[in-house]
Symmetry: C3
């Protein structure tokens, strides 16, 4: 069963904590022991796992990506969002997290972030939960 | 069942669209609902998902990787392809895509690319299709 | 079944070959044909697959990451390890490797590395083996 979540961004570059939404899908599935697969069906948005306790970690990640891959840099892609495509491939389109006793097995500081690199937009995040 | 595709590159750095080849493996498997796992068994080649409509997106990705990780940069690895190894770890060796009704669940603009970072060569891409 | 390995680092930045430890988990599981899932439950440590034959490849990867993402760079995160968080998202928190006839299906030069970016520490690496 494939569930598609909606994620709304409000800035060009943003990391949005979707842990709660994903846990809800896992809980509703009734699966106690397995894997939760996440997939971003966009080419200018990605998924990553990182610290959520201090919001400055996200700021540092986005700022560093902007420094390494500036928005304007004589790209060939005419739509103007080449940087967003490049960041997407570096961060990755998919993640998977173990499920134990119905809960996502995340480390103490880990949260799941949808990475918006060409917002603001409304995005999709596919979630599949499987017992394994 | 593990299927191994052959991917032929013609340049040192290249992103080769393998979506059609992968979909063929999925179709032949007969699996309607599941996951397609992709794995690159090389240390100077990777896999990523990005836009295929405008070929300049791929050019921008490869050019930016070359700018950040130049081919020559006083690396210690004596084979001369250290940059290719570094790019491989940044882009990643594996991907997985959901299968729905026998089709890869890709976003409108998404294509699957084999990333060659030390070509030209003939490469392997392992594909595994599982119902889930 | 989830197995948690311990990985001990001795430097701030280090890539530790865990292939042997992971293969042991696979062998003990008795599973002959499937997938081995690896997951790092930390936000300043990651997992990657790369060449293990020449230890200089690892040196080049770590040196390049340090050049692109310096330890000090006016980050906002006050703990002082923002660079480690950023590297973690670039390298990724999870990997999966096919299992064939009870063995990890790795390429000739591939080894599995735990990436320590804020050591020295004792880290966890979750391993799940599933027949598929």
């Amino acid at each position: 069963m494939l569930t598609t979540l909606q994620v709304k961004s409000s800035q060009r570059s943003e990391m949005i904590d979707v842990t709660g939404q994903v846990q809800t899908v896992v809980s509703k599935s009734g699966i106690k022991d397995g894997i939760c697969y996440l997939y971003v069906p966009h080419t200018t948005g990605a998924i990553t796992i990182n610290e959520g306790a201090d919001p400055n970690v996200v700021v540092d990640i986005l700022t560093t990506l902007d420094r390494l891959i500036p928005w304007r840099n004589n790209y060939r892609h005419m739509e103007g969002n080449a940087a967003a495509h490049i960041k997407t491939s570096l961060m990755g389109s998919s993640e998977r997290i173990f499920i134990d006793n119905g809960k996502l097995v995340l480390g103490t500081w880990q949260r799941i972030f949808f990475c918006e690199f060409d917002g603001p937009r409304t995005r999709k995040l596919h979630v599949k939960v499987a017992s394994l």
